[in-house]
């Protein structure tokens, strides 16, 4: 009876880990993903657009674009948006973020990335666990910290909801920028502006 229970538990765990990134896997999985991304960037026979697409394939499943988009926009603006605007915004945000991430990664063709550590913290209000994966871009003269921040969604998957680039949060920066834009412009105009930027940078 005990054995059956054990077997059941084991299969349950192995099934769930097939689909979702588990806490103790974050470090190894992310190391692999970062290494794979860097080796794509170093490939000389690919155009930068192809490199971008390859990298997106690798990182797509660990990024929660929706959550990032929503906290960047803030709840008030999100509530006032029409369904059409929401759709357009989510899409525009995702493309914008991918472009930016790939562009930054592409800067460091000759550098190494070291996964330094993994840290667990709990949010103040509802005491939910958060994980910070600390990595370091090691250049010839300087190195920068790049931290990936994970939260656990309702499917128990650990997903990235923010990236900390050398002490600056991607989401906090986006929040400030969008708030600034929305002071002078309508949401519609802001979305168009992000889309226009995506057309230039993409």
């Amino acid at each position: 009876m005990k054995d059956i229970f054990k077997v059941l538990l084991l299969t349950l765990f192995s099934i769930s880990s097939l689909f979702a990134l588990q806490k103790d896997e974050i470090k190894t999985v992310m190391s692999k993903k970062i290494d794979a991304s860097i080796s794509i960037i170093k490939k000389e026979n690919l155009t930068s657009k192809q490199k971008g697409q390859e990298i997106i394939k690798i990182i797509d499943e660990v990024f929660d674009y929706r959550k990032m988009a929503l906290i960047s926009l803030g709840r008030n603006a999100w509530v006032s948006a029409t369904t059409e605007q929401k759709k357009r915004y989510l899409k525009a945000f995702e493309i914008n973020l991918k472009n930016s991430y790939i562009d930054k990664l592409g800067l460091y063709t000759d550098q190494k990335v070291k996964v330094v550590d993994i840290e667990s913290t709990f949010t103040q209000k509802s005491n939910v666990e958060r994980i910070k994966l600390i990595t370091e871009l090691i250049g010839q003269s300087e190195s920068y910290k790049v931290n990936y921040l994970f939260y656990q969604n309702r499917n128990k998957e650990w997903l990235i909801y923010d990236i900390d680039l050398a002490g600056t949060s991607v989401i906090a920066t986006a929040r400030k920028q969008y708030a600034g834009l929305l002071k002078q412009k309508s949401l519609e105009e802001m979305i168009s502006e992000i889309e226009a930027k995506n057309n230039i940078n993409g």
Binding site: L70, R75, W78, T123, A166
Partner: protein
């Protein structure tokens, strides 16, 4: 004249800090009220709350107004610095990078970093980071001798002693001095009142400037011109090792000035906390 300017900065710095604190004190209470009234309305929307979670107060957190009395001047200066970078510094750094191989440039960067040892040492001590200051001292001794006057960095490669960058602006921040308000300096870029005071002290301590040469014997340049020349070389060399970074950051900006102001503030705050 110089002293008058310094006194003005300090006076402004203190008034700015006090007004800023008042603003900070007011915001949390109003924010909390808003959150309470609104969450009760929308708790039914589960998926919605799931998306926001705790982050930024469940998506309700207001983006704080930045106290920015110089915004008009700062905007103009940001554009000026941007043009200086695009038309002067970046092409120079590119040409420089074309002529000198990366290993040489990285050696020169190490050399300048090694000379800035007094600045890092003093500020680590002032922030009670004694382990770091001991490592800095060790780094300086080893890199100056075995590292061929600092061009190599054996302290890091052989002993794993990292460089611990600290400046007077960070030290002031460590002791709780507020940033005052944002000031974009010509050629030097984003700064604030606190860090400007820091810069004055930095340049007094730095061996690469000639300010305070009557008090400190280790100053390398004898004149202002020499000091500028050394500084320019160091900046061009540094930029040549970071080609593309500025453009890449700029691509993300919707409005250049507030974007750089925010990045600067975030980065400085992280450095002060470390």
């Amino acid at each position: 004249m110089k002293n008058l300017f310094f006194v003005l900065i300090v006076v402004f710095g203190f008034t700015a800090c006090s007004s800023k604190n008042n603003i900070n004190k007011q915001t949390p209470s109003t924010l909390e009220k808003k959150v309470e009234t609104k969450t009760s309305k929308e708790t039914s929307d589960d998926e919605f709350n799931e998306d926001f979670g705790d982050d930024f107060d469940g998506g309700y957190a207001k983006v704080e107004e930045v106290f920015d009395p110089l915004s008009g001047y700062n905007r103009i200066m940001t554009t000026f610095n941007d043009k200086v970078f695009i038309y002067a510094l970046n092409p120079t750094a590119k040409g420089y990078a074309y002529v000198l191989p990366k290993t040489v440039r990285s050696g020169i960067s190490n050399f300048f970093d090694n000379l800035m040892f007094p600045l890092r040492f003093v500020n680590n001590v002032l922030q009670f980071k004694f382990q770091n200051s001991a490592e800095e001292l060790g780094r300086f001794l080893i890199n100056t001798t075995f590292g061929l006057a600092g061009f190599m960095d054996p302290a890091k490669t052989e002993f794993g002693w990292e460089q611990h960058d600290e400046d007077f602006g960070q030290t002031l921040g460590f002791y709780g001095v507020g940033e005052g308000f944002h000031v974009v300096l010509p050629f030097l870029g984003p700064s604030n009142l606190r860090d400007m005071v820091g810069l004055v002290a930095d340049s007094y301590t730095s061996p690469l400037s000639n300010t305070g040469s009557s008090d400190l014997r280790y100053k390398i340049p004898d004149t202002q011109t020499q000091s500028l020349a050394i500084r320019a070389t160091s900046v061009v060399n540094g930029t040549s090792l970071r080609l593309g970074l500025y453009e890449s950051l700029k691509k993300d900006a919707f409005d250049l000035y507030p974007y750089f102001r925010d990045l600067y503030n975030q980065r400085r705050n992280t450095l002060i906390k470390e």
